[in-house]
């Protein structure tokens, strides 16, 4: 059970984040636009997310692949307008930035605080990890959306890491009734491997899919089972993204710009 002091602190953060959201959101979206980022078919993406939010009964657990440190901001931008978030603030997801990456200076701390972030310490103690999970469970139970990267860190290969993912997403699913898992596949079209931020001017491919997680197990086995289902769904989304890249004509060099630029691995790299 989360301590009262922590619950109150989270509620205060939520209220302040909501109050400052109009300024915060405009600044973030302006910064993303200033970098030249665009969302491919943003209307379709938002329509998909809106359809999911209209039909789901419980809180939303967003599960996404992870390639850059601004993935969360881009996903939030892609899924709904600032107006929608302001009116339905529970849809603006809490995030879990790594403490040492995002809490280096006061500016970043304020940005994270107003951006509904709960810092985690990746190599923290058992108690610290337990409290982080308890916070997320509490926030979901309050009806707020939570965004999580099952891979835990940016994929070094640039592709979904099907070997080293943790089971945090599945653990939240087992602990919170009626949680709706929404998988999001995000990738800059010019993204080759992981990076700090996407390349300037990059266009973002975003796909959203609701996932009906099920498990006949309980506890940790259910968490593992569900997280694997989430990762399988993200993997299928990645495959669909890769399939949309047109194959080069037979008479061209296969090291051509389209392939090299996107940096997709061949199927031999795919997990079994």
């Amino acid at each position: 059970m989360l301590r009262l002091r922590v619950r109150v602190a989270l509620q205060v953060q939520r209220v302040l984040a909501h109050l400052f959201f109009p300024i915060f959101a405009v600044c973030v979206v302006m910064a993303l636009r200033f970098r030249g980022y665009r969302i491919e078919e943003i209307a379709r993406v938002r329509q998909s997310f809106r359809a999911i939010t209209r039909t789901c009964r419980g809180p939303i657990l967003l599960c996404s692949n992870h390639l850059t440190v601004v993935d969360s901001a881009i996903i939030a931008w892609a899924l709904a307008s600032n107006g929608t978030y302001f009116l339905r603030f529970h849809l603006f997801a809490w995030n879990l930035p790594e403490w040492k990456n995002f809490y280096r200076n006061v500016g970043l701390r304020i940005l994270c605080y107003l951006g509904k972030c709960v810092p985690i310490i990746r190599d923290g103690s058992v108690d610290e990890k337990r409290e982080s999970m308890a916070k997320l469970e509490h926030l979901l139970r309050q009806g707020d959306a939570v965004a999580i990267f099952p891979e835990g860190t940016r994929s070094r290969s640039g592709h979904l890491d099907m070997e080293n993912f943790g089971y945090g997403a599945g653990q939240l699913w087992t602990r919170v009734p009626n949680v709706t898992v929404v998988c999001v596949y995000l990738r800059g079209l010019a993204q080759t491997t992981y990076s700090t931020i996407p390349a300037r001017g990059d266009k973002m491919f975003v796909e959203v899919q609701r996932m009906e997680a099920q498990s006949t197990h309980k506890g940790l086995r259910a968490a593992r089972d569900v997280t694997r289902q989430i990762m399988d769904t993200l993997y299928q989304m990645e495959q669909r993204y890769r399939a949309r890249i047109p194959a080069p004509p037979p008479d061209t060099d296969h090291t051509g710009a389209a392939d090299a630029g996107d940096g997709h691995a061949s199927d031999k790299d795919a997990p079994a």
Partner: protein
């Protein structure tokens, strides 16, 4: 089953997950699973579930969280078997 036998089985269960196999050969109860054997922390849950299967026990979340060293794993198994 003695603690030494349990420790031997725990080492066998851990083998597929360790990156530092040399440390596993000289492992003692004090060996840290994450630091010395360099097991990916994300795989700790798999190890706990593998230990449950191996020893036909159920390990609750709190006990699972307490497993840092090989001796911790042995202690949790002994406690569950005795309980």
């Amino acid at each position: 089953m003695s603690e030494v036998e349990i420790l031997g089985k725990v080492v066998a269960v851990l083998k597929p997950y360790v990156k530092n196999e040399g440390a596993l050969e000289t492992a003692t109860g004090a060996t840290s699973i994450l630091n010395d054997l360099q097991v990916n922390s994300a795989r700790l849950v798999d190890i706990i579930l593998a230990l449950e299967d191996e020893f036909d026990i159920e390990i609750d979340d709190d006990a699972a969280d307490s497993v840092q060293t090989l001796q911790d794993a042995v202690n949790v198994i002994v406690a569950q078997k005795d309980g």
